[in-house]
């Protein structure tokens, strides 16, 4: 373990922390552009966070300890996950062996779980509705996520994201195998569901349609800023897993030099722009599904993951 590795690991966390609002801003701006509106500036999420951190804290009556701890837990969870996944380097850093893919998934879910608890804790009607809806989606999405993980594990014979990255970057026949193609498609649907995008989540922010946001309606000021930032970081982390582990496992720092890490960060933004374009296409062409049709995209995703497992058996 050298000092450079520790610096790189801190760099990974900082990259997620500092660049996540940029990705969100990019998507919001260009989605509006596609729909021929002007859209907010790319750096608007930074401004929003700045504004929220300087506002006063309004606490609802009857808020318990959960209300204060949930944003902190969610934010911390999002700071932990970047330690485990290849954000800048394609080799494991000192603390990367703490957990595998399932471990990362567990920590990501822990943040969401605490936000759900906080939504129930506030006692507001909309928060309760949001909590119950998001739990229902989690029930539908979780089996698929597990099956995708199983597919990845069978593909690489390992549960560490770095091994998967090396395998896919190095072996073109595995990269183009049906199993991998299916896994990418299945994970893309999960990505849309988990990052509050259409076809399940609404693009208009009205309370009746809200799912994940409804849980945090009672928050204000710095705590709201933490929650929003955690949400953007979750999106960034999921995009990182999608790009650096599954879809585009190239352009990561191999030797860990400063220029390599910097180049990897720039390349990461390029990859995310590509994924963001795909997301924008989905957001522009799809309309929101009715509540009773939520299971359809997730069933399709489940099917793709099951097919990946099967295609993997035959390979």
């Amino acid at each position: 373990m050298s000092a450079r590795d520790i610096l790189l690991q801190i760099g990974q966390v900082l990259a997620v922390l500092l660049l996540s609002p940029l990705v969100q801003g990019f998507i919001l701006r260009y989605e509006e552009r596609v729909q021929r509106a002007r859209g907010p500036a790319v750096i608007q999420p930074y401004r929003d966070l700045w504004k929220l951190f300087h506002k006063e804290l309004v606490i609802p009556d009857g808020a318990s300890l959960i209300h204060f701890s949930a944003p902190v837990v969610a934010f911390t969870a999002m700071l932990v996950v970047p330690l485990l996944i290849p954000v800048l380097t394609n080799y494991p850093l000192p603390l990367s062996d703490m957990g595998d893919i399932l471990g990362g998934g567990l920590i990501l879910t822990l943040g969401g779980f605490f936000i759900t608890l906080a939504g129930l804790d506030s006692g507001s009607a909309y928060c309760g509705v949001g909590a119950s809806r998001s739990v229902m989606i989690a029930i539908l999405a979780e089996p698929t996520l597990i099956l995708v993980f199983v597919g990845i594990t069978l593909l690489a014979k390992a549960m560490l994201p770095f091994v998967v990255n090396h395998l896919l970057a190095g072996d073109a026949s595995v990269y183009w195998s049906p199993a991998h193609v299916f896994l990418v498609c299945a994970f893309f649907i999960l990505l849309l569901v988990e990052t509050d995008r259409l076809p399940i989540h609404s693009s208009t922010h009205i309370e009746v349609y809200m799912i994940d946001e409804a849980r945090i309606l009672e928050y204000s000021g710095p705590l709201l800023a933490l929650l929003k930032w955690a949400g953007m970081m979750k999106q960034f982390i999921l995009y990182t897993i999608f790009c650096n582990v599954l879809l585009l496992p190239w352009a990561l720092s191999i030797h860990g030099t400063a220029s390599g890490a910097l180049g990897a960060a720039v390349a990461l933004l390029g990859k995310f722009a590509l994924v963001a374009c795909l997301v924008m296409v989905v957001e522009t062409t799809q309309s929101r599904l009715r509540f009773y049709r939520y299971q359809e995209p997730l069933a399709a995703s489940f099917l793709l993951a099951a097919l990946a497992v099967i295609a993997n058996q035959i390979r």
């Binding site: 049906p178 299971q295 997730l298 069933a299 399709a300 097919l307 058996q313």
Partner: protein, 226 residues
């Protein structure tokens, strides 16, 4: 029985085409719009035609090019055109009152694929082959048959029945192309014309159905008429 051997590149290409056809079968299973069924079927036929053509290139059999051409023309263009015509005349554009929701149907279809895989392993073992293309072709063939049966049994629009039958047939054809690429041309032609007759008959039957009962759904057919 001798089974053909393939180079790795050919094998991966065949796998991709077979898997693509299977996915299109799932598109039909997961959608409720009749027009989608038809487009998916047409595209699937084109994929199978491509498979025939590449197979012809690999086993050096010029007859297969002809079969590919016929497949593309008949299954890829003529049959979808005929079905489109029937669709237009019947004025039915989607399944109403689904017995099994698309999401459930997809999961059942996934289970069918697992079953097909298990059966395919047994058959391949019995044939004395452990080639992955062979197992994949058998899996895709069996699962497309099962999906066809599923569509025939859980959908009740007349058009869905025709398309269920056509997927079933496409599955068998795909399997035969990979497993025994040297099938006599005559048999292929007979099958193609059979299909044409089947679709034409179905068209007539469906129009008769509309005339007598005023609907294209088989759910309404409850009364026995002597």
């Amino acid at each position: 029985m001798t089974l053909p051997q393939f180079t790795p590149l050919a094998a991966s290409f065949f796998s991709l085409l077979a898997i693509g056809s299977l996915l299109l079968a799932f598109v039909m299973l997961g959608s409720r719009w009749l027009r989608d069924y038809m487009y998916a079927f047409g595209l699937q036929s084109w994929l199978i035609a491509l498979l025939s053509a590449t197979m012809g290139y690999h086993v050096h059999n010029p007859e297969l090019y002809l079969i590919a051409l016929f497949t593309a023309l008949f299954r890829g263009l003529l049959l979808p055109y005929l079905i489109l015509r029937i669709l237009r005349r019947l004025g039915a554009d989607r399944e109403l009152d689904l017995i099994v929701q698309p999401a459930t149907a997809l999961v059942v279809g996934a289970a069918a694929v697992v079953l097909a895989l298990v059966v395919a392993y047994r058959i391949a073992a019995a044939l004395g082959s452990d080639s992955s293309v062979m197992i994949l072709a058998l899996t895709v063939m069996l699962s497309m048959k099962l999906i066809g049966f599923l569509m025939l049994s859980v959908r009740h629009e007349a058009i869905s029945h025709i398309l269920g039958l056509l997927i079933l047939e496409n599955g068998i054809f795909l399997g035969s192309q990979v497993l025994i690429p040297g099938m006599p041309l005559l048999i292929e032609l007979v099958i193609l014309f059979d299909l044409l007759v089947a679709v034409a008959c179905f068209g007539v039957l469906a129009r008769y159905l509309v005339k007598r009962t005023g609907t294209t759904s088989s759910l309404k057919l409850r009364r026995l008429v002597g």
